[in-house]
Symmetry: C2
């Protein structure tokens, strides 16, 4: 096999009480990529469709993660990468993570899987760092493994796969405004009240328990963020209105996707997820801000090979 | 049935990364209590053995929780309570919690179980508050329900039962020194670093996952406390030496039990738990401080009726 086509999914990180550690994978939103072995040594990005991104491997997230893996194996051939990008960069649903995992997943398949998924994620961390200026894996892990993932630690990288209840859907709105990563970081306090931290880990432990037991009521009571949301929500226009509309329409919970501007909600059943979509469309229709909305099942498979 | 004898177990609260929310129940350490219906209305503590505690119901933890329940039902009879106390007050393994749950559990049995265990715990909270000057349930919940419990919230009280892996043992040392609750509280910072809080909930979520999956390696990697231990461990003589001896002897993890002075460890298998006991005995034997040590399986049953 010399060529492979893959689907690299969008993801939601910073899931409410799981700030910085919990993410989940989306089903119907993602990039397509083609990875191809070539005689010429090196990593070459030969095609980019959808958005304007750099072709130089060293400047492209998919290229940087590919180079990290390439240098680890140093083969006597090279790889070409084609990127068909559907996830808008900066939208807060793991656009750079999809690119970063895509190249290394594809190369690994063409090489006969010398690396496991945690090792692949370590290469992808290098690509993600190009986009986000810090090494984190909370979008990479769910893109690579599917479902809900908990990044227990970065040094060493340890990723836990948390069970995904049947019938869990996400509705995500992407208001087309730009939030600078630096601004989203700067707005966070260095210190937080111990009492709030306790509330956050009570909710987070409860959410992990709820995912194990498919307890939707407990998911609803646990999907809260008392630490980060009060700050970052200020950067997203109409955040409180959208969140209220999501919950009023039956969503189990809602929060900021990544560092925004996207807002995610989780619902039991596709019907509720569509009701949530209708409700938030109404909120945003009057704002004059462009937006798009995704309704998707939680993707338990993660990145995958697709037929040509 | 007019009389019942019960075993009310000792418990460990503030389990490392689960500060303020996670507790577990001990098997071979606990109080015995007898609860008896009487014609005379009211709550009467008629016998206390083991330690010197007040007989006035309003001043005794078991009496206060009993009164809270008694006032809720207002029957035309009363209850007598006998307390055979084995858990030393102030030891940090839930002495007051055992008393508080014991009276209401026993009364509920004699009444034909009008209340569920969460409701009983709400009455017990009132008794616990007499001892600890604040309403919390992290010792009450495991005493009442057994195994590992997560107190998700106090208002309303919500308790989650987390699975207990087979073959999990605790070794607990109680150095016979006094730590004032007020001092243990005052030493805690009001604010904590967000980065430490994230580490704590990553570990706590991982611990909940590990208990669900009986992953002992992950229990070991998750049983860390980067928030509270650095402060409260200063109040416990030779804490670091004991903890190191516990881990060197094969314990999965160790931490402060409650607000101290007891130090707990968890081990896979009774043999390791006994090895831990031997190791910490050596550490404390040279200190001149009196101590006792408990080695016990995790008690998944909680408080129970025993034969006379």
């Amino acid at each position: 096999m010399n060529e492979i086509k893959i689907f690299s999914p969008a993801t939601v990180a910073n899931v409410a009480c799981g700030f910085d550690v919990l993410g989940f994978c989306l089903d119907s939103v993602g990039d397509d990529m083609v990875i191809r072995k070539t005689d010429k040594k090196g990593i070459y990005i030969t095609k980019i469709e959808g958005f304007d991104l750099p072709f130089e491997a060293e400047l492209n997230v998919a290229g940087v993660s590919a180079l990290a893996m390439y240098e680890a194996i140093n083969p006597d051939f090279g790889f070409e990468i084609e990127i068909y990008k559907n996830i808008k960069p900066g939208s807060g649903i793991g656009s750079s993570a999809a690119s970063a995992v895509g190249s290394v997943f594809g190369m690994n398949e063409l090489l006969g899987r010398p690396f496991n998924k945690t090792q692949l994620t370590e290469f992808a961390v290098k690509g993600e760092a190009l986009a986000s200026k810090c090494e984190h894996a909370d979008n990479l892990a769910p893109a690579m493994l599917g479902g809900f993932t908990l990044v227990k630690s970065m040094q060493p990288l340890e990723i836990l796969q948390i069970p995904t209840p049947e019938d869990l859907y996400a509705t995500i709105i992407h208001p087309q405004i730009e939030i600078k990563t630096s601004e989203a970081r700067a707005i966070l306090p260095k210190d937080v009240a111990l009492s709030n931290a306790v509330t956050q880990w009570a909710n987070f432990g409860s959410l992990i328990h709820a995912l194990h037991t498919s307890d939707f009521g407990l998911i609803e009571r646990s999907l809260k963020d008392v630490i980060v949301e009060p700050y970052r929500s200020q950067l997203i226009p109409h955040y409180q209105d959208v969140k209220k509309a999501m919950l009023d329409a039956g969503a189990l919970g809602a929060g900021i996707s990544g560092s925004g501007p996207s807002i995610f909600s989780l619902s039991k059943g596709s019907e509720t997820a569509v009701n949530v979509k209708d409700a938030i469309e109404k909120v945003y229709a009057t704002t004059g801000i462009d937006f798009d909305i995704h309704v998707t099942k939680i993707n338990t498979e993660g990145i995958k090979i697709i037929d040509n």
